[in-house]
């Protein structure tokens, strides 16, 4: 388990730059456009009928995986193009990277209502909902992938780049021989994370329903939702079983083999630790089919593709300087989108101003309530993950025993379990409040736990021996060794976790369940309610507020802690 860099460009401690403002403006205008479109959204949207018979499950599973695959393919294409432009074009980079940073920290789920309503106003219902789900999953998967690709491109060792220039590799060959192989490991790890995160949003999209508008999609999520609605415990068990089975199958047949395969792309010259293994990969690579495919199909094909590119796009002897006209065009062209942006921002401002003060008060109150829930969820998660994580991370036997269990538990997307959770918790007083915190907790605790385990197992053995020799007491040991060593990992985990908690608030604070609508005070509830009522000014204001709150928290609190952790508490 590796710790990932959650702030691609955290080196600057300045909270906001011009690029950030532009990025925020862009998001604002896109949201406004969505909200404008949504004005024409139909008032009643009827969802699909869900079949609870177990034999319907394979079809639902196929639909869910299909949506994920479509979104992931889209993400990968976007990543390769966007990251490459940002890495090689200095001027574009100055806007593209802050934009990525803002988008990455925005609670994506808060955009779902706007996107759903906007699309269903212009497209047939079924297509609109399907597309909205894919867009949502795409936006949840794409940013870290793009960051990974961009970071790989910008960290390729200088001498490898020089070698490919001196040996005259053209753009395609550089991409195939240098850039893609160099980024492979990072792309695969991030794809895995994206995929895991995608389930959370897929389930949320499949079960999303507000008031008269039923946006559900046929799939595993809707199946679980329907099963919980009808209190059909048999179906609930079938549904969860199917979901876990799908996730495990994907892990064993796609991700593990890919990781084992990608080990060859390690740049580090020393062979450390044991290489990752996969039984399926071993089986596959020893099969004669694989070598036949390589020798007869992929090898010759690749050779042809390479030759085609080399013939048609040879290395240019000298860079052609752009003509004066082209230079002017290059300077003037960005002005047009900027003008559109500013006008859009102006219209959005008008819409926001039309909102009465009382509703702004509601938004403020909701923000506080949701923030409180996020903090409580985070504290509860810390309280149990730190002791357990340290125990697992420092004890091999325990790790061997618990690690697989934890991984399976973590692989089930929290949103899939939410309807089931409601079934039980709603009977309690303040039921939805508890359920909301629980959902946030379920969505976030695993990030923390995995990071704590990684941090604890990274404590150097000689430091542990030293604290044994010094006979440090339990308290002293935690204070001087364990907590400081965990700090960077805790911060990384907490940043991801709090992002997840904000996302969860959209589905957690408002629920259509058993034919009735339940809601509690909170920003997420406000967003869902505004979607149901068709109050588009409120929807825009609440969504924006959540976005700004999260971005601000990231910049002012998390980023500083992250920089502190990187500078002071890193084990070299």
């Amino acid at each position: 388990m590796k710790r990932i860099n959650v702030f691609g460009s955290a080196s600057s401690t300045r909270p906001f730059g011009a690029g950030d403002l532009l990025a925020l403006l862009l998001v604002l205008v896109v949201l406004y456009a969505g909200a404008r479109l949504a004005l024409n959204a139909p008032d009643v949207i009827s969802g699909p009928t869900i079949d609870l018979k177990p034999r319907a499950l394979p079809w639902y599973a196929a639909l869910s995986v299909g949506r994920m695959t479509a979104a992931y393919t889209l993400s990968l294409l976007f990543t390769l193009v966007y990251g490459r432009i940002a890495a090689y074009n200095r001027r574009a980079e100055q806007i593209m990277m802050p934009l990525l940073d803002v988008l990455q920290s925005v609670p994506i789920l808060s955009f779902l209502p706007v996107v759903l309503l906007g699309l269903s106003a212009i497209l047939p219902e079924a297509i609109a909902v399907e597309l909205a789900a894919i867009v949502l999953i795409f936006t949840s998967q794409v940013w870290n992938l793009t960051f990974a690709w961009y970071q790989s491109l910008t960290t390729i060792p200088k001498e490898l780049r020089e070698a490919s220039s001196i040996f005259r590799l053209n753009g395609w060959m550089q991409f195939r021989v240098l850039e893609l192989p160099f980024a492979t490991i990072s792309l695969i790890w991030n794809s895995m994370m994206s995929w895991a995160g995608g389930w959370f949003f897929l389930m949320a999209a499949e079960i999303f329903t507000v008031g008269q508008r039923d946006f559900r999609l046929p799939g595993l999520g809707a199946y679980l939702h329907e099963a919980a609605e009808q209190s059909n415990f048999g179906a609930i068990t079938w549904g969860i079983g199917a979901l876990i089975l799908v996730i495990v199958l994907l892990d064993q047949f796609i991700w593990r083999p890919l990781i084992a395969w990608s080990d060859r792309f390690k740049v580090a010259t020393l062979t450390e630790a044991e290489p990752p293994t996969s039984w399926f990969y071993d089986l596959w690579s020893s099969a004669s089919l694989a070598s036949w495919l390589r020798d007869r199909v992929s090898g010759p094909l690749l050779e042809r593709v390479d030759q085609w590119w080399l013939r048609h796009f040879p290395v240019r002897e000298t860079a052609v300087a752009p003509s004066v006209g082209a230079q002017w065009l290059g300077r003037a062209l960005p002005l047009l989108p900027l003008a559109v942006l500013l006008y859009g921002g102006y219209r959005a401002g008008l819409m926001l101003l039309s909102l009465p003060l009382t509703q702004w008060e509601q938004i403020g109150l909701g923000l506080m309530a949701t923030l409180l829930r996020v903090v409580v969820a985070l504290l509860i998660a810390l309280a149990w993950t730190v002791p357990l994580g340290v125990a697992i991370g420092t004890n091999r036997r325990l790790a061997a025993l618990l690690q697989p269990l934890v991984q399976i538990a973590a692989s089930v997307p929290a949103t899939a379990l939410f309807p089931v959770l409601l079934l039980f918790v709603l009977r309690l007083p303040a039921g939805l409040n508890i359920a909301a915190v629980l959902l946030m907790l379920m969505g976030t605790q695993w990030y923390l736990l995995f990071n704590v385990i990684a941090g604890a197992s990274a404590i150097p053995q000689d430091l542990r021996y030293t604290s044994d020799l010094l006979q440090l007491g339990r308290l002293e040991r935690w204070r001087t060794l364990i907590l400081p060593a965990l700090f960077p990992y805790l911060i990384t985990g907490a940043i991801t976790a709090s992002g997840g908690a904000w996302n969860a608030s959209i589905v957690a604070e408002y629920a259509n369940f058993g034919g009735q609508t339940l809601q509690t005070t909170g920003l997420g509830a406000l967003i869902s309610d505004a979607t149901a009522q068709g109050d588009y000014a409120l929807l825009l204001a609440a969504t924006l507020t959540m976005m700004f709150a999260v971005v601000l928290l990231n910049r002012l609190v998390w980023r500083r802690l992250y920089v502190l952790a990187e500078e002071k508490y890193r084990m070299e």
């Binding site: 070698a163 220039s165 005259r168 060959m173 010259t269 062979t271 290395v315």
Partner: protein, 436 residues
Amino acid sequence: MMGENGVLLQLKRVSQQYGSGERRFTAVEDVNLTLGEGEFVALLGPSGCGKSTLLRIITGLQAATSGEILYRQRPLRGVNPYATIVFQTFALFPWLTVLENVAIALKVKGVPADLRATRAIDALDRVGLDGFENAYPRELSGGMRQKVGFARAIVTEPELLCLDEPFSALDVLSAETLRGELLELWTGGQIPTKAILMVSHNIEEAVFMADRIVVMDKNPGRIIANLPVNLPHPRQRKAVEFQNVVDQVYATLAGQTQPEYLELGTAPGEPGRTRRLPQVAIPDLAALLEYLSDLPGNRTDIYRLADELNLNSDTLLSLVETAELLGFATIARGDITLTSLGETFAEASILARKEIFATCIRRLPIFKWLLAMLRAAERRQLDWNVVQTALELEFPPQEAEAQMDTMVNWGRYAEILAYNDDNTMLYLESGATSSN
């Protein structure tokens, strides 16, 4: 020896600058260089003298700020198609096999697959790597990896073979073997290469291999000498003639101790050049002085020190420069002589050494400047970044940071400076405020 036709490469008044306005720094200044067919030239100098920059300009990886680069009388534009580089860190693609790494240079030239393999295997044979075609670079030792680097470079039959410190990342034995093997290929005419240009900071290596040594110095990077090496191959390192050339190069690089006002330079911000502090570890400096104090007459040839103290020439020259700068030694004609101050230091106790050291560095303009700023500052403390920003008017950012590191390091040893990394504040050490 070489006619007009024999000239491969010509640099005319080539300069390379970075940055702009007040913060404009010259990496390479006004370099004139001619490389003829059949020549093996070594570009030698301390780190930071711009020799690698010059190599990149010659191969077209980098464009010079000004000046002309002619290859066979034609101005060079873009990457030089007649040159290849063997890199210091090998620069092999880790995910390609040895054979693929060599063959890729041919593939992009449109050589068909079967011919590619034949020629790549032939190149690997010549460097003695037959049998390792299907290994991955990570399975090979450093020396063998560099052989792949050589095979990849010669497989395209370049006219100009550029070597960027090709032996400095290798262990001593592999480096020595590889040097011999390269010389065999070159002097035996087994490769169609017309000329070799090798960047090196290892003086013995340059004398061992090259026909001509172009000596560069830093601040700014420039050529200070052109020394022919007229010794027949194979050269004997212990031979007197060989040692004489080494001595001559050391003498060129170490220079001559100047009168104090020239030697010390000026403070940052004042007219004139601020002297850069060499980056050395103080225990190493002490060891050098102790060694010298045990010698008869407290003097020796600098080149002998490299062998006897087992130091590379780069580190040795930095140490010698430090000793000279602080007044512990004087340099003349490649000899180093301990001063009486240096002798006192060498024989002093730990605490007395610190006091002597403190007195010495207080004389340096850059330290005077820093101490004066600290004394004038509120609560006698300054933020690291403030000082570094001020230094960046004199040095490029990276160099400014390195100078800060050295000042803090020396100041801490002398107990006149303190630095707190938590709040990045520099302090005057109490007791250091009153004197001087």
